[in-house]
Subunit: 415 residues, 2 copies
């Protein structure tokens, strides 16, 4: 048996005991894990420094080094997030629904952990902490597979977490890290459907495609966030400007930032001139349809592939549309089913947009930037799904669970 199989088997066997641990034991473990991170701060920071030096030697980008680096404040954020997870409600054991059948059978639909979850991610070491602790809180064993460049940081973190967990009574094997960072090892993990119930990949589109293509285990993911804001003819243009500016500029590198702005023809002239000036001032590169370019000269020409581009940058495509029908059609054709917004004062259009746009999150008069576990009030986030099966939109503790039916009777048999 190789490393990957051993890890899988160990997780599977631990998962049965972890699944039924009382909330108090899991919470006490999380508190001990937070202290353990603090006690091992020096060792973790030193391991992180080794990763950074090795990455610099390889000549990676500054952005990559930034994602890899644990600053003192990021370290504190990691510790705080563990304590925060300890304070969240335990999803396990919730009775989702219960009813009695005419024959007297009492049926309960009860929330239970999934079992074993594999998390595949890239350079950020804080994912080891967040993902590891969210899985533990929801009663799942986790197999972490971080990027090769963060291996020393990750090993030091998982060592600190794992030892504390075991001291607190969590079954050994509940939090494990794949030490072998080869592609072969990832592929072996992705075929461990006998032991692993779910794979969550976090990272760029390339990583996610590789995972989906190689996995025999169910995968929940999102490829892209091509988010739209549609400014309706009946919009309050002051609100529209505020929302569009926020959706594009506040943090352009994330999946819930706006990539395409659609404007109803009636509002185009009045709205676009001041709006696009604001964007230009903020350094946003604009790519427009012919009508946009007629209204605001100096805007670059948008080509077909701009409508399906996830820029993740200060770039925006802009299009004038005839009305809500064309806006919805455009979004359902070019969008990625992530987050899309309408700005309108018209009741019927608000309802129509929220019903007919086929996305995980649909906003009326609010910024697309709110698609986030924390902003939704889930207290945490392990990822965002643009899939439709099992989980859609921000995923937190509840999305890491499944259910079982418990049926109680007094001797019922089927006729």
């Amino acid at each position: 048996m190789n490393e990957v199989q051993l890890i899988g088997k160990r997780a599977d066997s631990a998962s049965r005991r972890l699944a039924v641990l009382p909330t108090a034991v899991k919470n006490a473990a999380l508190e001990l894990m937070a202290s353990s991170l603090e006690e091992n701060r020096d060792g973790i920071m030193e391991a992180n420094l080794r990763d950074i030096k090795a990455a610099e030697k390889k000549g990676v980008s500054l952005a990559f080094i930034d994602r890899l680096t644990l600053t003192p404040s990021r370290f504190q954020d990691m510790v705080d997030s563990v304590l925060q997870i300890a304070r969240l409600a335990d999803p396990v054991g919730e009775v989702i629904r219960a009813w009695r059948r005419p024959n007297g059978l009492e049926i309960s639909k009860v929330r239970v952990p999934l079992g074993v979850i594999g998390i595949i991610y890239e350079a950020r070491p804080n994912v080891s902490v967040d993902a590891g602790c969210l899985c533990l809180k929801s009663g799942n064993c986790v197999i972490l597979r971080g990027g090769a460049d963060a291996i020393n940081s990750n090993l030091a973190i998982v060592d600190a977490l794992g030892k504390a967990a075991v001291r607190a009574g969590i079954p050994r094997g509940s939090i494990q890290m794949l030490k072998d960072t080869s592609h072969a090892a990832v592929k072996a993990l992705l075929r461990l459907d006998r032991y692993v119930d779910l794979i969550i990949p976090r990272g760029g589109e390339g990583l996610i495609r590789t995972v989906v293509e190689n996995s025999t285990i169910p995968v929940i993911k999102h490829y892209k966030g091509i988010c739209h804001v549609y400014v309706d003819g009946e919009a309050d243009l002051k609100i529209a400007r505020r929302i569009c500016f926020n959706a594009k500029v506040q943090r352009p590198g994330v999946c819930n930032a706006m990539e395409t702005m659609l404007v109803q023809r009636k509002a185009a002239k009045r709205f676009l001139k001041p709006m696009l000036r604001m964007f230009m001032k903020a350094g946003v590169e604009l790519r427009g349809c012919p009508e946009v370019r007629k209204i605001v000269p100096g805007v670059k020409k948008a080509v077909e592939k701009d409508w399906s581009a996830e820029y993740l940058d200060l770039i925006l495509s802009v299009k004038v549309v005839s009305g809500i029908e064309e806006a919805i059609e455009h979004i359902n054709t070019y969008g990625s089913g992530h987050s899309d917004a309408i700005v309108t004062s018209d009741y019927d259009n608000a309802r129509k947009f929220s019903r007919e746009v086929d996305s995980a999150a649909v906003f009326v008069n609010a910024s697309t930037r709110f698609t986030d576990g924390g902003e939704f009030g889930f207290g945490a986030e392990i990822g965002i799904s643009t899939d439709k099966l099992h989980a859609r939109g921000p995923m937190a503790l509840e999305e890491l669970t499944t259910y079982k039916y418990v049926v109680c009777g007094d001797g019922q048999i089927r006729q």
Copy 2:
């Protein structure tokens, strides 16, 4: 573009309109579809006769011919099931949860259709009706792919259903049948992830494995039902006998029938003698562990592979265990996560069993035969899932849906 791609594209485009149709339109369509089946009874029965004759020529088994055959009473059952589905509650539009955030955003989690569902099945023509109508009621387009041997029956049925649906205002392309019954066409369907959201295979283990191995679309399935009844030391043995007999004998060929009976050592002597005599009288072949064979001579020897066998027949493996721990361990090791029961009068053991057995349905003092959409009160069933993602246990209308978040604000932006 070949037939499969055309069908996929047509379904995808119809799905947007079908998803937002009012319940009344869908129900009126279902009623018209039931009438249309009746009006086309002669043509459908004639097509079925052609299928039967062709199958007989090929020399298939009598059981196969039986599954293929539409008797007058089975035809009536099909019509009734359409009317029954019309009367079920529409799952679409249910607000699963709604809350207000401190910043005033109002978030609703709303139930919506999945989109396009592919159903792959074997000889039974009634699946075309059940699956087609359940998908329609839940707002999903359906692509049906029945077995080659039932092609004439299926085409006649789907023609009758589809024309009536369109007459009632359902978008063309909502119910389609794959006419090409080649393996290549199925494989092409399984890779249509651009248009199809979910595949549900219904049939034997071989069919299901082929589907899982070739699909790039999420699949919900169950491979096997290796169901257990554990008779605890503290059981009411009269109830235990009734439940075990029902679970094995009432309908041995289905997935929720008992395949292995576990008996606690303390109860073994008193329980096994009369119980196994009852089974023998009913023609059940028994395969036991050494202890069972000591208590009741004449029982065949169970070998290792008996513990993971799905007999689907009047055969039962029987094992004496030391207690609830061993019973749970046996079930979690050899079972298929489908349906497992305990018979006990002990409160703690009832709780322990229902928490620690990792199956879709866990029964206390009731027969495993109750795992069924109808028996659970769902009014219908499109299949049973032993998967943990999205749906577990009996699947009906709700399990054919997903959700979206609708977020309403008055200009909120993210800080």
